[in-house]
Symmetry: C2
Subunit: 426 residues, 2 copies
């Protein structure tokens, strides 16, 4: 299947950013709008792209495509952008060989939107439009499964025009008729005249980017939607994620996910060293590194840079940081009796095993343990909770109690995991 | 695709085992010969089975099939087993609707043989016959890709008849001709007359089971072939596997894999407790549990009982046993200085992390770290090596040195893993 991407618009409302630069090449959450289309559509099996551009932007597009030779793209120049996006669309006609996707270069869609949409037909209409400014959005009125009106000023409408279409090449006959009749043609006119099918899809993030505020909003929302969260404990949900998504929003354009992993881990290791000078400051720094620990995953997913290596590195470095901090606390405490040392050893062991049992589960069952055993989410002892508890205890001066509580909680959690998995998966 | 399994033979050479009991229902490595065919062929997509049996064995087959309702089988009774296996084969003609697999109920094939064979055509001929008694085997002579002779007493031959065929229904025309001419017909005659294609496949385990010795041999070889070994260290390869495969051969009919996991882990925990009474005996028992640790996997694969749960449980219990034994040693040693305790903590941490990094890798990359990084196999510090080293050190009275060496070796190994993976997979 092929995809046509309309990218010839002038982006006047994004000036000065778009004074001489095309809007689809502006970055949202670390990636050009156009890259998002190419990447996500490629992953769903689209192999060829036809991009209709404004000739004055050609060199920017050439440069962009040189950086991403993995995409097979044809640039189609529209010498008359003033004739409207309907005319841009019409120019793609000779390059399309069968059913195709049509989408807008200045829109953002999350991965799941595109996955779902590709199974549908005609114009994708969103009944809810949760993430867009509804007054300014183009509305669609559908009857008996067909689009009968498409306009910003409809008083009665079925939903919002997502700018995402699945079309047959016959649509170009309709486009040609209008092109011969009129000078300026909008895409909406063509689709409305052609009475294309209409499919409903709601609940997924998409929006069009018109203003500088939209750029920020899209980044922020993509980061929020990038929170995976299946392994988040209570502290993560209530506190850490708010901090990490806020920071990710600022840093997504500057930090790669692996650099974020490295820096937060470094912060944790520094916190462990700091214990010997100022234990309270160290505990706060440790919690800070835990708050930022979600950034790598958020940045990775939001900027389409997920990698198996990133996940692996994050897990391994987390274990090392946790060990280092507990080792620091142990050396501060210097427990005298053998039984106290045994309790501390249990705390070390349990802290690593909470993650070991969950990660080994993923390797064995190719599935997330928290999805298969939602009950486990309510057991305390996940990393975010352990770190927060350690911080509070250090601030209150209870070091020995940290080891007692961790030894209990983490090993109980491991025992519960063993029991649950054995009962259900044996 | 369908499969025809010939199971009407009298199995005279296995008397008294087969006095009134059919040979294909005898167990090899914990599973009936017939079950192996049904299970392995099903997993490769064969959906229907036609089993030609001796009517006097019908009740045994019905009972067997009732136990395994997941297989869709048709039993075809051969009222004249004395007319030979060619006649048995002929009786399957009305139940076959397209290209089909033909195989012998008294043969054993390993999984990979069947996987490869299903991509080939005609009679599968093994040039090497590594696992069979070659004098007694049926030989095949092929010319220009066709079988031209099939007999035990060929002096010149291409290879050995594996009893595994991929055939077209037209073969039954040839069978019918012979059935009308003669009273006793062998399968070999039919195939030789029909000039079926011949495909070569060597290096995989298969054999026919004729005598009580064959039953034992097949079990032993299936266990040997079930050694996965990608995670085996030096001690495993030289010592532990020899012990575990020997024991698995005896116990495969009596132990489920999970019970084997449980019992060897229990042995390890008992060893940890025994440390407080007799450290040397405890160390030997710990090494014994490590030697038997391979049994669960061997039994699981050889008896077609592999499960994600089994792998998960084995890994988690291994970590717990290792922790328990090291904890025992720590409490025997009672290191006095904080720096000594820190070294011990590093030994605990590194011992778990060697496995964590490898298992987390499997979850992230869906691939075995030792296959992707063969160099890692030569780094010391895997479980079999750690346990063996601990035993030797305890026997020689060096307890403190155990922690020093483990702290070094295991953490160096983790660092090397981090480095290698980062360099190659980033």
């Amino acid at each position: 299947m092929e995809a046509v991407i309309l990218a010839a618009g002038l982006g006047t409302r994004l000036r000065p950013l778009t004074e001489s630069f095309p809007k689809p090449l502006l970055k949202v959450a670390g990636r050009e709008l156009l890259y998002r289309h190419l990447h996500l559509l490629s992953q769903e099996g689209i192999r060829r792209f036809i991009i209709v551009i404004n000739p004055q932007h050609e060199k920017f597009y050439r440069e962009f495509l040189n950086r991403y030779p993995e995409f097979s793209c044809t640039l189609v120049k529209n010498p008359h952008p003033e004739r409207g996006n309907g005319y841009s669309f019409y120019l793609a006609r000779d390059f399309v060989s069968g059913p195709f996707v049509l989408t807008m270069g200045d829109h953002v869609y999350e991965r799941d939107f595109i996955k779902k949409a590709l199974g549908l037909r005609g114009l994708i209409v969103d009944r809810e439009g949760l993430f867009i400014s509804r007054e300014e959005a183009t509305k669609a009125l559908c009857e008996e499964g067909l689009v009968i009106a498409l306009d910003k000023r409809l008083s009665r409408y079925t939903g919002f025009d997502t700018g995402f279409f699945l079309l047959e090449p016959e649509i170009f006959t309709q486009a040609q008729k209008l092109v011969r009749q009129k000078e300026e043609i909008s895409l909406s006119e063509i689709m409305q005249e052609a009475r294309i099918p209409c499919s409903l899809l709601s609940g997924y993030f998409w929006m069009d980017v018109d203003t500088p505020e939209d750029l920020k909003k899209a980044t922020r929302l993509l980061i929020k939607r990038a929170v995976k969260g299946s392994g988040d404990g209570l502290v993560s949900r209530l506190l850490n994620r708010r901090v990490s998504t806020w920071c990710s929003g600022f840093l997504v354009n500057y930090l790669t996910p692996n650099l974020a992993t490295f820096l937060t881990s470094l912060l944790g290791l520094i916190a462990a060293l700091l214990l010997f000078w100022n234990a309270k400051a160290a505990a706060i720094l440790y919690q800070l590194s835990s708050m930022l620990d979600g950034m790598d995953g958020e940045i990775a997913r939001a900027s389409l840079r997920e990698s198996p290596f990133g996940g692996w590195l994050d897990s391994v470095l987390d274990r090392i940081v946790d060990f280092a901090f507990l080792l620091g606390l142990y050396l501060l405490l210097k427990p005298a009796f053998a039984w106290q040392q045994a309790v501390a050893l249990l705390a070390f062991f349990g802290s690593t095993m909470v993650s070991y049992t969950a990660e080994r589960y993923k390797g064995a069952f190719k599935s997330d343990i928290y999805r298969d055993f939602p009950l486990l989410r309510f057991f305390p002892g996940k990393r975010d909770e352990r770190v927060f508890f350690i911080m509070v205890a250090v601030l209150m001066g209870y070091i020995w109690e940290i080891f007692v509580v961790l030894a209990l909680i983490t090993n109980l959690r491991v025992a519960a995991t063993l029991g649950m998995v054995a009962l259900k998966k044996r």
